[in-house]
């Protein structure tokens, strides 16, 4: 999947992946796509909850060898 910005949150534990993601999102334009990689198993639920509450769109989520990849489209506003 194409993306505009990447955020490496591997080997970080709650709540750091969310905080890093938030910071990266504020640095990109509306509707641009951020790719986040994380190893915290809790991040799977957390990123779903994050997107549900903030209005950013979780486009895709992959799990490969316990490395989780999320593609989030920044909300339009």
């Amino acid at each position: 999947m194409e993306f505009d910005q990447e955020c490496d949150a591997r080997n970080l534990n709650c709540p750091l992946p969310i905080l890093r993601c938030k910071k990266s999102l504020s640095a990109i334009e509306a509707k641009q796509i951020l790719k986040i990689t994380a190893t915290d198993p809790g991040s799977v639920k957390d990123f779903q909850a994050f997107c549900k509450q903030t209005g950013h769109e979780l486009l895709q989520m992959d799990d490969e060898d316990s490395i989780f990849t999320f593609y989030i489209k920044k909300r339009a506003d």
Partner: protein
């Protein structure tokens, strides 16, 4: 959802040990990332969390039977000099090795995200704290100040 009035979170942080420093800063920084307006009111031992130097935050196994220890340790051993420092050192190593943020990091993230930190003025007077011991990004206030924000908050927690 992200539109209109942001949700609000009001926290009271009343504890000043290394382990109990986590909940308020984790919740505050995360809520701020979820676009909440957040205020933390620091009272009694919680004031310690606003000091410039956080390196003397400690965790004690004493009176904390649920704390995981590498070997079973009776209370009379835990009270020996140096045991608290050792437990703190072990906890800090564990925190770093598991990729858990430091308190300094979470506090900085909270401040950067606009979390408002309020120090209980009464506690400052009670314990003769010096205002110069604290970081600059705080305000001083009392219980009424807390309620001004907590009264219209969506979530209020005492930690």
């Amino acid at each position: 959802m992200a539109k209109g009035q942001p949700k609000k979170l009001a926290l009271i942080a009343s504890k000043g040990s290394l382990d109990w420093a986590y909940p308020p800063f984790i919740l505050a920084s995360t809520a701020a990332a979820l676009d909440y307006d957040v205020q933390i009111f620091f009272t009694f031992y919680g004031l310690t969390l606003l000091k410039k130097d956080l390196s003397d935050l400690k965790v004690s196994p004493l009176g904390n039977p649920a704390m995981p220890m590498p070997v079973p340790m009776p209370n009379f051993v835990q009270m020996l000099p140096g045991m608290e420092s050792m437990a703190t050192m072990m906890m800090k190593q564990k925190i770093a090795s598991k990729g858990v943020a430091s308190i300094e990091e979470l506090r900085a993230a909270s401040i950067e995200a606009g979390v408002k930190l309020i120090a209980c003025q009464m506690t400052v007077d009670l314990f003769d704290f010096k205002k110069t011991d604290f970081i600059d990004e705080i305000e001083f206030g009392g219980a009424a100040t807390f309620f001004e924000f907590a009264g219209k908050s969506d979530v209020q927690l005492f930690i």
